[in-house]
């Protein structure tokens, strides 16, 4: 299966939606979707951070952490820190730590930029902005973008990696907006007392996930 930009878009937004199929980013999904305005703000912030994170982690992965292949470039080798990159990939164990560092710094940076340039959005997002750091969606997207690919021999190109990060964010935002619309209606409906608020939100998510399951193998894409 050819992994092009269109396949990545359809695969990441519809077929393997970050929230509804991959279970990433559930804490903000349940926490922030009581109002659509909050959901939209959070969704866009996450989209922004995801794209930047995919870019940075992809750079680190391709040029520092893995064996570069016969014609590739590796920073550690170029700087003479190691004589040659090992084939068994021991430097890859640094993936987890370095990715989370990158994401934490990115979020801090985005917070500073927002506070200066768009203070209204900064106030609106409030505590949710620093919480993007511990959002499994961003870390999850970074890990997915830089993992072994079923259909390719080499890691994703930088452009496709960034595109995948962006589409992951789009899928996340889509799910959040759909969920907040449903929850606003659920808030004034007659729900049995035990199921009010969180339980009915989860059950609705399950029904949404069931609907999205219908997208699997769309156009023969298996992402």
């Amino acid at each position: 299966m050819h992994v092009g930009y269109v396949e990545i878009a359809i695969g990441t937004i519809l077929i393997s939606n970050m929230v509804l199929a991959r279970f990433l980013g559930l804490c903000p999904f349940i926490g922030v979707t009581r109002r659509t305005s909050d959901a939209v703000g959070m969704g866009f912030a996450v989209m922004f951070v995801m794209t930047l994170a995919a870019f940075a982690t992809s750079l680190l992965y391709k040029y520092v952490l893995i064996h570069p292949g016969p014609d590739g470039f590796n920073l550690l080798v170029a700087l003479g820190v190691v004589k040659e990159m090992p084939a068994d990939g021991y430097v890859l164990v640094l993936k987890t730590v370095s990715y989370i560092l990158i994401i934490a710094v990115l979020v801090q940076f985005v917070e500073m930029v927002l506070r200066k340039s768009v203070p209204v959005l900064y106030k609106a997002l409030g505590i949710y902005l620093p919480l993007i750091t511990t959002n499994c969606a961003v870390m999850g997207v970074a890990l997915l973008t830089t993992s072994d690919w079923k259909y390719q021999d080499a890691p994703l190109s930088l452009g496709k990696a960034v595109w995948m990060g962006f589409c992951g964010g789009v899928g996340f935002t889509l799910a959040m907006i759909l969920m907040s619309g449903i929850r606003e209606r659920l808030a004034v409906a007659r729900v049995p007392k035990a199921l009010q608020n969180v339980p009915i939100a989860f059950i609705s998510t399950g029904l949404m996930a069931l609907a999205f399951l219908g997208f699997s193998k769309l156009f023969g894409i298996e992402l």
């Binding site: 164990v93 370095s98 710094v105 940076f109 500073m112 930029v113």
Partner: protein
Amino acid sequence: MEWSYVIAAVAVLGALAVVFGVGLAVASRVFHVQSDPRAEQIEAVLPSANCGACGFGGCAAYAAAVAAGKVGPSECVPGGMEVARRVAEIMGLVAEEKARQVAVVLCQGGNRVAERFGYQGVTDCRAAMLMQDGAKGCRWGCIGLGTCAAVCPFGAIVMGEDGLPHIIEEKCTACGTCVDACPKQVIRILPAKSTVTVLCRSLDKGADVRKTCSVGCIGCKKCESVCPVEGKAIHVTDFLARVDVETCISCGKCVKVCPMGTIGNFRLSRRPANGKLAAQQEVA
């Protein structure tokens, strides 16, 4: 033990740390935001309810306005005198006294009033208004679906078994959120010292009121005739009695003489804070 493993790991993480440390330090200079430290101090003292009673869009906005000198320190209603004093201290001003106020529900109908039709829809009073101004027989009275209880930021309103909202006076801060939310405008903010209030808003003729509600005001003027205050502290206009809070002396004569039981003597019906029955309280 392959030392190159260790060196590579330390090099990668160390380089990342240096790059990020320097980067963040530079960024915090470039994106530095000037903020008045007093605004942050004031915001820390406010109750953070973001109710808007001060007239600003949230506690942060009010704190910024006070720090900028645009408004006085006593505007926070939920905070009361305590917060006003502290804000004034931070700004170096004097806080003025504001008499305690409380929200009162001007209706006793609730489940006593028959519904004109069965309403099955969104359980929100504002939504029910879209269906011919609500299902209750009296078009001035409380619909009873609990919008006020839902919007109260302090949890001071509880929907009772009689279909009416009950205000927990200890928690009510008179912020006015329920007043804005109620589509029938049945909740009012009144001074806490006033104990006699007409618990009805119906402008219907007496005969019509009797048909729908057993406790509504019929405009018989018995209260007006028995009021001992010179110039009368209670007047009936448009078939509804209204108490003038400035001149009312809370003697309770109108409460006893009202044939429908519409006038509330809050010495009896306010929930006492110390657990004693209202009738056993010291009459102020």
